[in-house]
């Protein structure tokens, strides 16, 4: 009897640990029109879901029931049931949706529609479009302040970060950043907003209260031409201390001290790295590498690339389940 109990006590942490780490990563493959499902423990593709045309922006709903994926060439957002791995419904975005974000309650979705200079507001439960906000040319990046009060949209040709009051749906500030801003990310404490400029080659650190660019991060990779440095995806740790910036065709992730905004290190990943997502325990950071058709796994504490997972063609976005 005691033997069994002891055995159980030995096994339990192992069972618990492996269970706690069994997250699923969903990767949108822009060219294949599929989602690759990765088991983050095994670091293997465990499933492939067929979706609409040109899937890019991807996220899970707060209740983890659905994976939402923007299929730009079908002008809609598809809802994938996470249990059945099947498309069960669609959301009425505007034309050519690309990136989106949901509010803290998980009920409202804000979508950037590249083709008609608007941000669309959607009630997820009712699957209904409940409003639009006119922004600059080619809206793309979407970031929401942690309290849900300020929505930031970046417009790629206007080169601005538009601050939208979510209560009044009015633009309250427009901040010029460098050319082709693609991604907007708040720190968890709301103290800073980071905006990446793909063509400008910089990340602007914006004070969201004063509406000012307080710092600009530049990247210099020895031996690499400046034009190849094209920042896109941004990920910041929950404690706000470390930032990661995907540098596109420079094939590297820049590691940033998020307090001093100094570049600490470059991590070599696959080709044309787009976006990133942390596992919920923040032990690993997964990156989508568009041209090499794979996902790199970064050990966050060691700051090392430890694995590469082959996925579909032109992987673009990534979302990881929270449980």
């Amino acid at each position: 009897m005691w033997r069994y109990i002891i055995l159980l006590w030995i096994c339990l942490p192992v069972v618990l640990a492996s269970e706690a780490k069994a997250y699923k990563a969903y990767v949108s493959n822009e060219k294949s029109n599929t989602i690759s499902v990765i088991d983050t423990t095994e670091r293997k593709v465990v499933g492939t879901i067929k979706v609409g045309q040109r899937p890019r922006g991807i996220a899970l709903t707060k209740d983890q029931k659905y994976v939402l994926v923007a299929v730009g060439d079908d002008d809609t957002i598809q809802m994938i049931d996470t249990a059945a791995h099947k498309i069960v419904d669609t959301l009425p975005s505007g034309p050519d949706p690309e990136l989106f974000t949901d509010d803290p309650s998980g009920r409202i979705l804000y979508v950037a529609n590249e083709n008609d200079n608007t941000v669309t507001i959607i009630d997820i439960e009712r699957r209904a479009r409940i409003g639009d906000v006119e922004v600059g040319v080619e809206p793309e990046g979407m970031g929401l302040s942690p309290d849900g009060k300020i929505l930031v949209n970046t417009s790629e040709t206007t080169n601005m970060a538009h601050f939208i009051d979510t209560a009044t749906r009015q633009i309250v500030a427009n901040i010029l950043v460098d050319a082709r801003p693609r991604f907007a990310q708040f720190k968890d404490d709301g103290s800073e907003l980071w905006v990446s400029s793909e063509i400008g080659g910089t990340v602007s650190i914006i004070d969201p209260i004063k509406h000012l660019v307080k710092h600009k991060i530049n990247f210099t990779v020895p031996g690499m031409r400046q034009e190849a440095i094209q920042p896109v995806g941004i990920a910041i740790t929950h404690d706000g201390k470390t930032g990661f910036v995907a540098l596109g065709p420079a094939n590297r992730i820049a590691v940033i001290d998020a307090t001093t905004h100094q570049v600490q290190k470059f991590l070599l990943v696959g080709q044309r790295v787009w976006h990133m997502a942390f596992t919920p325990d923040e032990k690993y950071l997964l990156t989508t590498n568009g041209v090499s058709n794979d996902v790199s796994v970064i050990d966050v504490s060691a700051l090392k690339v430890i694995d590469t997972i082959q996925v579909g063609e032109l992987p673009w976005g990534i979302a990881i389940s929270q449980r």
């Binding site: 040319v137 206007t158 010029l176 034009e227």
Partner: protein
């Protein structure tokens, strides 16, 4: 308003003079503040002039005939983009379009537009006429954008300090093509040149490119333009017989490279040559700044916006004109001003970069104000490749492997 108060005060008599004066002063101040506020909410207008040729260029294929609004349509789309951005910055952009007959002097037209408050001129004219326009604008600090003329001399011995070039040069186009042909190891070229001046200039650029990148021109032939119509009812029968005759007996070659800017023969070459060889240059695989099929790097969005506005596809000239108008918009947004000299200075400075859907930022060569840009290689259906090709290195910018580089330039900006 102020006057009205004065009258009212007089009417009521002298004892109310002092209080009326105070009221008048207060009202006057209020009026001043209101005017200042109104002036601030009134958007600043930046006026742009477009001068294009009155005549339409001709082409062998109906598909290649330029539309009437070729070029200026690109400006209009860029102004839409600028005005959407301008909404947030209190800036507005307007356009005045004029056409000039080939061979005439555009000086008066430039001065007339300048009198309308225009400082920026987007110009699609042949080299000589462009130089006259630039000369006319020198005294009045007018800024010109050359969007149509690809002559290298406009960026070299005839460069001007008040002319920015968004059109690529012949040497940039030739280098972009040559890099790809060398990458393909199609290094033996049969060069066929038309008999017009522009054809010869393009052939010069192709010869220079072959020398630079290690291709060999095994033979050169001239296709004489003997006149005649491009559209006839039984032309095809003859062409099918003529082209094999013209291309027979050539030394061994990998590719036939044609220099025919005048649209006399090149489009007749593919599938009709004596030896089964690909055609490049003025037909077949064509180097250009933009193409209707280009959809990479977000270009799809621009193509969609263009199609929605004009119900046709966007040409290279449209793109070169779009780039010019967007440069003005981009600089005006950055300097937060409509002052032409501030805008021009920003464009020439190190901060300027244009996002133009070509996978990297476009910047200006400070020694001759030429816009650096990748060159697309299009076969009429798809984009085959984009130069600079991998492996063609440069100490400053790989885009400077295309065209005449700083150490070789003959330009002295003045």
């Amino acid at each position: 308003m102020l006057k009205k108060y004065d009258v009212a005060a007089k009417y009521r008599g002298a004892n109310t003079w002092s209080s009326a004066l105070i009221r008048a002063v207060i009202t006057g101040t209020l009026v001043l503040i209101l005017t200042a506020m109104l002036a601030r909410s009134e958007p600043v207008t930046i006026k742009i002039g477009y001068i294009g040729a009155a005549e339409r260029k001709t082409a062998i294929s109906l598909v290649d005939l330029p539309p009437d609004n070729d070029g200026v349509a690109g400006v209009r789309l860029a102004l839409d983009d600028n005005n959407t951005t301008g909404k947030f910055l209190n800036q507005q952009f307007s356009l005045e379009e004029m056409r000039v007959k080939n061979g005439t002097d555009p000086t008066n037209m430039v001065l007339q537009l300048a009198d309308h408050g225009i400082s920026f001129f987007i110009v699609d004219l042949p080299a000589e006429m462009l130089l006259k326009a630039a000369e006319a604008g020198r005294q009045r600090d007018l800024v010109f954008f050359n969007v149509g003329a690809i002559d290298d001399r406009l960026r070299e011995e005839n460069c001007r300090a008040n002319v920015i070039h968004t059109a690529p040069t012949r040497s940039m186009l030739a280098d972009g093509l040559a890099q790809y042909l060398v990458f393909k190891r199609w290094q033996q070229w049969l060069l066929v040149v038309g008999s017009h001046e522009a054809d010869k200039l393009f052939a010069d650029a192709l010869r220079r490119a072959a020398r630079r990148f290690g291709a060999k021109i095994v033979q050169q032939r001239v296709f004489e333009d003997t006149g005649g119509a491009r559209r006839t009812d039984s032309g095809l029968v003859q062409i099918q017989r003529q082209i094999p005759l013209f291309t027979q007996g050539a030394p061994a070659h990998d590719v036939l490279v044609a220099a025919d800017e005048s649209e006399v023969f090149a489009s007749y070459l593919p599938y009709r040559t004596r030896d089964p060889r690909p055609v490049a240059g003025s037909a077949g695989l064509i180097p250009k700044s933009w193409d209707a099929a280009h959809d990479q790097w977000g270009a799809n969005q621009l193509q969609n916006r263009f199609m929605q506005l004009f119900s046709r596809r966007m040409t290279a000239l449209d793109m070169q004109a779009w780039s010019a108008a967007r440069m003005i918009g981009e600089a005006a947004a950055r300097v937060a001003s409509s002052d032409p000299q501030m805008i021009f200075t920003y464009l020439k400075g190190p901060e300027f970069a244009l996002a133009a859907f070509k996978g990297q930022k476009l910047t200006l060569r400070d020694w001759n104000l030429q816009l650096r840009q990748p060159i697309l290689l299009a076969d009429g259906r798809t984009i085959v490749s984009v130069s600079p090709q991998e492996g063609f290195l440069h100490q400053f910018s790989e885009l400077d492997t295309l065209g005449i580089d700083r150490p070789e330039t003959k330009c002295l900006l003045k």
